[in-house]
Every structure is written in structure tokens, then in C-alpha cells.
């Protein structure tokens, strides 16, 4: 059952990818024929189709296998991007873990003390309206002054994005049990912490995992933006920044680094999915 489902998913992904490439190349081909106009009209196309704006899909793909000079060594682009992505992944993983811990702690704190929910929740919402670009240099400068490597500051920026969905959904999940379930625990004279561990946390899992998935992708975004805004020497953000500056020469390179970033996002998303399957679905599969 599950295997068939996985196959179907893989099939859908591949078909979608092929359709997207066909659409991309078809649009480009059409634009080339009509000098960037809708066929038979004077109306211009929204995106021009020259090789600088829209490189051929094959060129982007070829770029992935091309060599690139990085410092003294020459590497295939895929290896180069994988190395950068590994570094960003590490930052994102630290940011994600910290974000989950902070988010859960906030949720439990707000559950325990009603006044904390009233006092904290608005600030937690406000925290996400601060532009990351403004926040990043503050955090990183602080981290540098403390003598920490840039990675610490970048992970903290990722944490700043990830704790939010965990705290908000976590609180909802912890509050999700029916009042009769809470009464049941009370009838057993269960302590607040036993009620948390035996009832509220397990009941919160269906709320937490979607939040973890969001947090995982946000942790990648946070790390990349963090890298870009402080100009660190490594990571995918650095690669994107470098390639962006040379976009006019090698547009395929920027595209390939964007693909690497998406793949990293998919990878962390997949990791959380796997964790969810281990924690919830395995037990639930029996139900069908």
C-alpha cells in the first residue's frame, strides 16, 4: 500500500517536472518566434524570453555538471553546490532544533499561565513582522562581538523564523483535548506534568507536525537570508549572492543554485515527514 503510494508520488513529481520544463521551453520558443509578443497581437509578454532572462532548461541542467573554480580547486558544480548546501543544512538544522525547543517551551509556558498567553501571543505575532534583512545584521553583529562564528548568528536567525509556527500550533495542540479528557486525568489525581506528558503532548502531535514541516522549510530560508545579509564566506546563500552578481554572464549558475536551495528545502521537509511517519502514522496505519 505505502509502496504503491510512494511510487505514485514519485511519478507525479517527475511528470510535473517534465510538464514544467515543456511549459518553460514552449513559452521561450513562442517568445523567440514573435519577438516577445503574444502571437498575432501587439501585446508584449510579461517575461521576456531571451537567454539571459530564461536560459534553456538544458543549459541549466548542463551547468550542474560543469566545472567551477572555487578558490584553488576546480569542482563539478553539483559537488560545489552540495558542499555549500551541506553547510547551510547544518545551520538550518541547528536553527530548526533550537526553534522547536523554544517554540515548545513557549507553548507550554502559555498553556500553564493564562496571563502568559495574553501577554506573549501578541509579541510572538509582532516578532514575525520584523523584516529579516533588518534583524540579521543585528543578530550577527552581536554574535561576532561575543566571538562566536558566523554560523551561530545565522542559526539564530533561522531559529527566529522557526519558533513561531511551533509556538502557535503547539499551543493549539496542547489545548486540543476535550474537557472530559482533562477531567478524566483529574479524576486520576494526575499532576499537571503527568497530564502534559500523558495527554496534552500526544494530543498535540497532529498539530505539531504540520508546524514542524513549515518550520523546516523556514529554517532553510532563514539560513540563506542570514548568510546573504551578513556576507558569510560559505553556504548556499553565499553561492546565490556570488552568482547573482555575475548573472549577466552566467544566468544558468544562479538558476542552478536556486534549484539547489529548493532541493535542500525538499530534503528537510522529507526528513520531517519521515519523522512524522515514525511517530504517528505507523500507529495509525493499523486503523484502516
Amino acid at each position: 500500500m505505502t509502496k504503491r503510494k510512494a511510487l505514485r508520488t514519485a511519478f507525479t513529481v517527475i511528470v510535473t517536472l517534465i510538464l514544467f520544463v515543456l511549459l518553460w521551453e514552449g513559452y521561450k520558443w513562442m517568445g523567440q518566434q514573435t519577438e516577445d509578443h503574444w502571437p498575432g497581437t501587439q501585446f508584449g509578454l510579461p517575461v521576456s524570453t531571451d537567454d539571459l532572462t530564461m536560459p534553456h532548461a538544458s543549459d541549466i541542467f548542463n551547468e550542474l555538471t560543469d566545472e567551477i573554480r572555487a578558490g584553488r580547486e576546480t569542482l563539478p558544480m553539483t559537488v560545489y553546490l552540495a558542499k555549500k548546501a551541506a553547510f547551510t543544512f547544518l545551520e538550518a538544522a541547528i536553527g530548526f532544533s533550537l526553534g522547536v525547543i523554544v517554540g515548545l517551551m513557549l507553548a507550554i509556558f502559555m498553556l500553564r499561565w493564562r496571563f502568559a498567553e495574553r501577554g506573549f501571543l501578541p509579541w510572538i505575532n509582532v516578532s514575525q513582522t520584523v523584516p529579516l534583512i533588518a534583524l540579521a545584521p543585528i543578530v550577527v553583529t552581536w554574535a561576532r562581538l561575543q566571538g562566536y562564528p558566523d554560523m551561530v548568528g545565522i542559526s539564530l536567525i533561522a531559529t527566529y523564523l522557526t519558533f513561531f509556527p511551533v509556538a502557535v500550533s503547539g499551543l493549539r495542540g496542547l489545548q486540543s483535548p476535550d474537557s472530559s479528557d482533562v477531567e478524566l486525568m483529574r479524576s486520576y489525581a494526575a499532576s499537571w506534568s503527568s497530564t502534559l506528558i500523558k495527554l496534552r503532548l500526544p494530543a498535540a502531535r497532529p498539530f505539531l507536525f504540520p508546524a514542524f514541516k513549515l518550520a523546516a522549510t523556514l529554517s532553510v530560508v532563514g539560513s540563506i537570508v542570514g548568510e546573504i545579509s551578513i556576507g558569510t564566506k560559505t553556504g548556499l546563500g553565499r553561492a546565490i549572492l556570488d552568482f547573482a552578481q555575475r548573472y549577466a554572464v552566467w544566468p544558468e549558475r544562479l538558476y542552478s543554485s536556486v534549484i539547489a536551495a529548493s532541493l535542500l528545502g525538499l530534503f528537510v521537509f522529507g526528513l520531517v515527514n519521515a519523522a512524522e511517519w515514525l511517530v504517528i502514522k505507523r500507529g495509525r496505519e493499523v486503523l484502516k
Partner: protein, 264 residues
């Protein structure tokens, strides 16, 4: 059976209990007023009344899930609070309240886990309980795989797992279809007989109250008061009992009391 116990001990004793929700505010509600109630050990009593009569509230006073605004609630001679801390009662709710993420045995073992029982003791007890409610072969099933009636049986097994002397039931069969409901009533009587547990049972079904109880307590609404207490003695009950004239007699008596309540 229990006839031989001469030194009747009061399982529950309530004196002049009032319950006011949201006191001193605009939405103040007098839920219960001047409740006096005694439940003898080994009794099976039902609380019945129109909705809003405070029967569930009364059950929660006994369970110490709510505190009375005035008056006194004693359970086995102790304060309701002490009785709850000593886990002198088990509780069954309308919705079985089983935890989805625990299989049947793990659900039954929950109160034992909280009491710090060892794993082997818990497993042994949950086996006994599954035998009592006749669900031995379902021990590894998850709640959602069970029918409503089976879920309620697990819920009863969970409530009785730590052998409380009192079982508090809040419309436990209210969500079941009629046939399952009648079957569960017979099962409950069997369990009551086998375990000797005192039962306080909240229901809004007249035949259910008449069939199960040794005493039916009829409440009147707004504010909730005890209107009357009807003693029922149908002896050993089976499904056949439902067709007996005595049963008809008992339901008629309860129905008339409820009509009198509605008329006021």
C-alpha cells in the same frame, strides 16, 4: 449478592449542597440548590431529569471535578477531594474518552501507569479487565477500530482497573444505538454484580434508569433540586425483564415523576 451486608456504609453522602456558576456576575446560574442525597455502598442509583437539571453537575460534585458553592459532599466518609486523591472512584463519560494513540490495553493501563504500577502488574490487571468486559481478543486494537459499544466497554474496564469502590457514569450509553445500549445495560449489571462496585449513573433515558437502578433520583431544573426518589426492585434482570409488568410499572413511575417535574 449484596443482601447480606448489614452494616450499610454510605458511599456518598451529600448535605445541603448548592452549586452556583459564575457567582456575582451577569450570567450567574444556580445549578443546584439544597441537594441532600445518600448512596449506600453497593447501590446502583440513577440521576435522571430534563436537560439543565444539573444531573451532570451533581455527578461532578461527587467526583470533585467541581466544588460545591455551599454544603457538604462526602465520599466514603471523606471529603470528595480526599476521595478523588485516594482514587476511590472511577469515571466513565458519554464519549469514551479513550486516547487514540494508545491501544486498548494501554488505555486500560493508563490509571495504573499514573499510580506507578510495574509493567507486569499493569499487564496482568489489564488482562483481567479485558476478561471482565469480554474483549480479550481486542487488546492490541486501537480505539478507532472498535465500535461505540466496545469503546465504552474499554472505558468501563479502564475506570474499574484500579478497583475503585465507586463508579461514576455520565450518560455512558447516550451515544449508542438502542440495541447496543440494551446489551450494554445487561453487561453493566453483570459487571456491577461481579465487582460489587457502587454505581452512580446519569441518564436521560427513562427505561435505562428503571432497568438498571435500585434507586432512581429524579431532578427538577432551574435550579436543580431533587424532586423524588423512586425505589426499584426488579431482582435479577435479563433482556426478558424488559417485557415484565414490573418493569413497565417502574418506567411508568419514573415517567410520571418526570411529567410532574416538567409541569412545574
Amino acid at each position: 449478592m449484596r443482601e447480606n451486608s448489614e452494616n450499610f456504609e454510605e458511599a456518598v453522602s451529600i448535605r445541603a449542597a448548592d452549586k452556583v456558576f459564575n457567582p456575582d456576575s451577569d450570567n450567574e446560574v444556580q445549578a443546584l440548590l439544597g441537594i441532600d442525597l445518600d448512596v449506600k455502598e453497593g447501590d446502583f442509583i440513577s440521576l435522571i431529569g430534563p436537560s439543565g437539571c444539573g444531573k451532570s453537575t451533581l455527578l461532578r460534585l461527587i467526583a470533585d471535578l467541581l466544588a460545591p458553592t455551599a454544603g457538604q459532599v462526602k465520599v466514603f466518609g471523606k471529603t470528595a477531594n480526599q476521595a478523588r486523591l485516594d482514587q476511590d472512584y472511577g469515571m466513565v463519560f458519554q464519549h469514551s474518552g479513550l486516547f487514540d494513540w494508545r491501544d486498548v490495553s494501554a488505555n486500560i493501563e493508563l490509571p495504573l501507569e499514573l499510580k506507578g504500577w510495574s509493567k507486569s502488574d499493569r499487564q496482568a490487571r489489564s488482562r483481567e479487565m479485558l476478561e471482565l468486559v469480554r474483549l480479550e481478543e481486542f487488546k492490541d486494537h486501537y480505539p478507532r477500530q472498535l465500535s461505540g459499544g466496545m469503546q465504552q466497554r474499554v472505558s468501563i474496564a479502564r475506570a474499574l482497573s484500579f478497583e475503585p469502590r465507586l463508579l461514576l457514569m455520565d450518560e455512558p450509553f447516550g451515544a449508542l444505538d438502542e440495541m447496543t445500549r440494551e446489551h450494554m445495560q445487561v453487561e453493566l449489571l453483570r459487571i456491577w454484580r461481579e465487582t460489587g462496585t457502587t454505581v452512580v449513573f446519569v441518564t436521560h433515558s427513562i427505561p435505562e434508569a428503571a432497568f438498571l437502578s435500585s434507586k432512581v433520583v429524579v431532578l427538577s431544573p432551574r435550579p436543580g433540586r431533587i424532586h423524588s426518589e423512586i425505589t426499584v426492585d426488579l431482582g435479577d434482570r435479563t433482556d426478558q425483564t424488559r417485557e415484565d409488568p414490573e418493569f413497565f410499572q417502574a418506567t411508568t413511575e419514573v415517567r410520571e415523576a418526570l411529567r410532574a417535574v416538567e409541569a412545574n
